[in-house]
């Protein structure tokens, strides 16, 4: 079946611009995660959505970062007034949440801030 998809696959933007990154989770998965991965580094947790509960935003690095999940499915990560240090791969993962704890990752969006 279809996996987690993300768009765009690559995004180049200028410093100070806003960007929106999209994640389409696996249908029926109740949980959705956003991570950031800098070059050659591990995964940094950003935010987590579970069903209709309030999201866990504890990993967002600043108030320039926000995310929403509409209708319990698609999620958008928004970065306002981008900075060069925001350059990274942004990964989305979804998790079924009822019978398994396995996260399934999308291919990521590579963001480059010039």
């Amino acid at each position: 079946g279809a996996g987690v998809s993300q768009s765009p696959s690559n995004k180049v933007t200028e410093k100070g611009k806003d960007v929106e990154l999209r994640c389409d989770p696996i249908s029926g998965h109740t949980a959705l995660y956003w991570y950031r991965q800098s070059l050659g580094q591990g995964l940094e947790f950003l935010i987590y959505f579970q069903g209709n509960s309030a999201p866990d935003k504890s990993g967002l690095p600043s108030d320039r970062f926000s995310a929403e999940r509409t209708g319990g499915s698609v999620s958008t990560l928004t970065i306002q007034r981008t900075q060069q240090e925001d350059s990274a791969v942004y990964l989305c993962a979804s998790l079924e949440g009822r019978s398994t704890d396995t996260q399934y990752f999308g291919p990521g969006t590579r963001l480059t801030v010039l």
Partner: protein, 111 residues
């Protein structure tokens, strides 16, 4: 604070040999652990998982070992193949549904 780390940042093995990738974790309350494989330009791919009520779990050519006494996790890959070359991450489920990832180990398979 919580942390998941790896003993070796890089590992080179001969094709056909067995590989062992290690991971240390610090949260003794973690109850679920996962190994992921990440190839260049792709998202992490699930390999195998283990719950804290087990100490060993086997998959196809892979085995995960969990030693809760010393808070150590390892991934063993049998008969390593060129296609196994990737970065391997361990992750622990720590508090609710939060996952903490280690920094990763790069596995290079030599011909």
């Amino acid at each position: 604070g919580e942390s998941v780390g790896l003993h070796l940042p890089t590992l080179s093995v001969q094709e056909g040999d067995n590989s062992i990738i290690n991971c240390a974790y610090s949260n003794s309350a973690s109850d679920y652990f996962i190994w992921y494989k990440q190839e260049s330009g792709k998202g992490p791919q699930f390999i195998i998982d283990i719950r804290s009520n087990m100490d060993k779990r086997q998959g196809q050519r892979v085995t995960v070992l969990l030693n809760k006494t010393v808070k150590h996790l390892s991934l063993q890959i049998a008969a390593t193949q060129p296609g196994d070359s990737a970065v391997y991450f361990c992750a622990e489920k720590s508090g609710g549904q939060n996952f903490v990832f280690g920094p990763g180990t790069r596995l290079s398979v030599l011909p």
